[in-house]
């Protein structure tokens, strides 16, 4: 069963067993700074992991929820990050402005590119999302006023009501955790809602969805926009985490990384995206300690994972299916 697909409302006990893993994950992340992982390096790594997980959760909404394989998700992170940078360059660092602009800006980008991309499907869709991602990349690289190719260093982290809250690594840790938990809970609710039901149905069988009277396009576009908005949030957090924004954020390989994180976690459950993102970063960290040329190991691992682990870490998928998704 996909999230929320059960015909009757789940009781508290059932809910705990269904959501036990993600809730445990949040608890661990909340405890980590006080359990020996409060040093700068650990907090930095965890922040990266949570931001990646947040972006991957939004992407899961598309891939796992709607069966849409976007290879341009990093562009929405770029929109969010560049919103922070551009506002910063004009002296605006208030979070109450920066975050909504980042989220809505990324949502607008997703809406406009999605409106075109979603007219196609299958392999066309993959290529077009990739192309729009590349468009965003080159556009960012051409923004000479904001660093162009070299990137832009923020004057400081985003403030809230003039307070420099995010300067504290610990506060930032909990902001990221809160954002991740919120986005997960929202996506989970969305998937179980009327809207999510239509979305999940379009993944399984678009013809059937039309045959009961729905046109899939507006639902897909709304999902694409929602995913873009989560990407914008992740991008704004990412800009704050590194205090630096460059086109590298929206390089197409980042979109590939995100997609890999989602698949590594598995399309069976929404929290697969989080698990996949954490596993992805852990793998990257571990391998990069082994050798500087860690991608020599990472690439083949990815290939092997695709060929031999089609269900991802949380399973839920029968191996070797032709269609992405299937019964979730």
């Amino acid at each position: 069963m996909a999230d929320g697909a059960a015909p009757t409302a789940a009781g508290p006990a059932a809910r705990l067993s269904r959501d036990g893993l993600p809730l445990l994950l949040f608890a661990l992340l909340a405890a980590a700074p006080f359990a020996g992982f409060g040093d700068g390096a650990s907090l930095t790594l965890m922040a990266r992991a949570m931001i990646l997980a947040l972006a991957a959760t939004g992407l899961w909404l598309l891939v796992g929820g709607a069966g849409l394989i976007s290879l341009g998700h990093a562009a929405t992170l770029g929109c969010g990050a560049y919103a922070v940078a551009i506002l910063d360059a004009h002296g605006i660092t208030e979070g109450a402005i920066v975050f909504p602009v980042a989220i809505l800006g990324a949502g607008l980008f997703a809406f406009l590119t999605g409106a075109v991309s979603l007219r196609t499907s299958g392999v066309h869709f993959i290529m077009i999302t990739l192309a729009f991602g590349q468009m965003a990349f080159f556009t960012a690289a051409s923004l000479a006023a904001y660093g162009g190719d070299d990137g832009y260093t923020l004057y400081g982290r985003t403030e809230f009501l003039g307070g420099r809250l995010l300067e504290s690594r610990l506060v930032f840790h909990f902001v990221c955790l809160g954002a991740l938990a919120l986005v997960w809970a929202l996506c989970r609710a969305v998937l179980a809602s009327r809207f999510g039901r239509v979305l999940r149905a379009t993944r399984e069988n678009p013809l059937r969805v039309q045959a009961v009277g729905f046109s899939p396009y507006p639902y897909r576009l709304a999902a694409y926009t929602l995913a873009g908005m989560t990407g914008g949030l992740a991008g704004a957090l990412l800009a704050n985490a590194t205090e630096f924004v460059s086109p590298a954020i929206l390089a197409w390989q980042r979109s590939g990384d995100l997609l890999f994180a989602v698949i590594l976690g598995g399309l069976g459950r929404l929290h697969g995206a989080m698990l996949g993102a954490f596993a992805f970063l852990l793998l990257e960290e571990t391998l990069s300690h082994v050798t500087a040329h860690w991608r020599l190991l990472f690439g083949p691992l990815l290939v092997l994972a695709v060929i031999f682990l089609p269900g991802g870490l949380v399973g839920g998928l029968v191996g070797g299916r032709r269609k992405p998704g299937g019964p979730a």
């Binding site: 075109v116 290529m127 192309a131 468009m135 923004l143 690439g299 032709r322 269609k323």
Partner: protein, 307 residues
């Protein structure tokens, strides 16, 4: 803008279009026949460039390098097909995207490990290193003209192979109905391998040609690959003719956009913002045109027959 400069830019655009076509042709054939989306097609272009540069340096001759690099690129393509891609034909596009993405990570890094991150120099052949006067006082590099000529010749050859030979007939038939071709007693696996190797060789050929004028460096194939995707999306997936025309269109648009748009912006803006706005618009131009074409014709300009 003076007419001479415009001419030069148009030729540059044509030359980019030709290289794009050589990459896109393999991509579109492979997709058309096998419904296999191969992100790693761009690294085959990169491998071609590295093989060409290395072999040319060893032998001391561009031509020997070119002649040796082609079978080497073919071999690389075949090895990849047997080792990885073959296991992905029956799988969904998502798996194909990810696995070929893994291949890209590996090969880009392998190239970086073997040759280093710095661009590899590649000398152009002595005989083509000069220029040809386009008009009084304006020389255009002979080598770039040679690329255009070589690309056009390859396009003709390809057209002949696909439209006029038995192999081409099988490829076209396989694209629309693989089971039927199998039923005719053709080993569809062998046909796939052949098409794949051929596509890899075309991309490698483009890589060798590009070696002396672009920087030979890790990841050089990725950007071209994405432009090649734009080309086949505009041209219509599976269509060689569409790929050819769309490649020229994209090459010209991109090159001319980058030189003309900043100039155009100066009519409206001060020089500095004009340059910036022009550059930003130019980098979006190809994609905006793609979006416009798709909005009107979702299947591309020349959808392949039977697809």
């Amino acid at each position: 803008m003076p007419i001479g400069l415009l001419l030069v830019q148009a030729l540059n655009g044509l030359q980019l279009g030709i290289l794009l076509f050589l990459v896109a042709a393999g991509l579109t054939l492979v997709f058309g026949v096998m419904h296999f989306i191969n992100l790693a097609h761009g690294v085959q272009y990169m491998l071609g460039a590295y093989l060409g540069a290395t072999l040319a340096a060893w032998t001391g001759s561009f031509w020997l390098g070119l002649v040796l690099a082609l079978p080497a690129a073919l071999l690389c393509g075949l090895v990849l097909e047997v080792a990885v891609f073959r296991h992905l034909y029956g799988r969904d596009h998502l798996s194909q995207v990810l696995a070929t993405f893994g291949v890209i990570l590996f090969l880009n890094e392998a190239v970086r490990t073997l040759w280093g991150s710095a661009p590899l120099p590649m000398a152009m052949p002595e005989s083509l290193s000069g220029g040809i006067p386009l008009m009084p006082g304006l020389l255009y590099p002979t080598y770039r003209l040679a690329i255009i000529a070589a690309g056009l010749a390859t396009a003709l050859l390809l057209w002949f192979l696909v439209e006029r030979t038995r192999l081409g007939m099988l490829v076209r038939a396989g694209a629309s109905n693989a089971p039927m071709v199998s039923a005719l007693g053709v080993d569809i696996g062998r046909l796939f391998t052949a098409v794949f190797g051929f596509g890899a060789m075309l991309a490698g050929f483009a890589g060798v040609l590009a070696g002396p004028i672009f920087s030979v460096e890790p990841g050089m194939g990725d950007n071209l690959l994405i432009l090649a995707f734009v080309v086949i999306v505009i041209g219509g997936i599976g269509s060689i003719r569409g790929a050819f025309l769309a490649a020229l269109l994209v090459g010209l648009l991109d090159t001319l956009g980058r030189s003309l748009l900043p100039e155009l912006m100066r009519l409206f803006l001060a020089p500095s913002p004009a340059r910036q706005a022009g550059a930003a618009l130019a980098s979006m131009l190809v994609y905006v045109v793609m979006a416009a074409i798709l909005a009107l014709r979702p299947a591309g300009l020349f959808p392949a027959r039977g697809a």
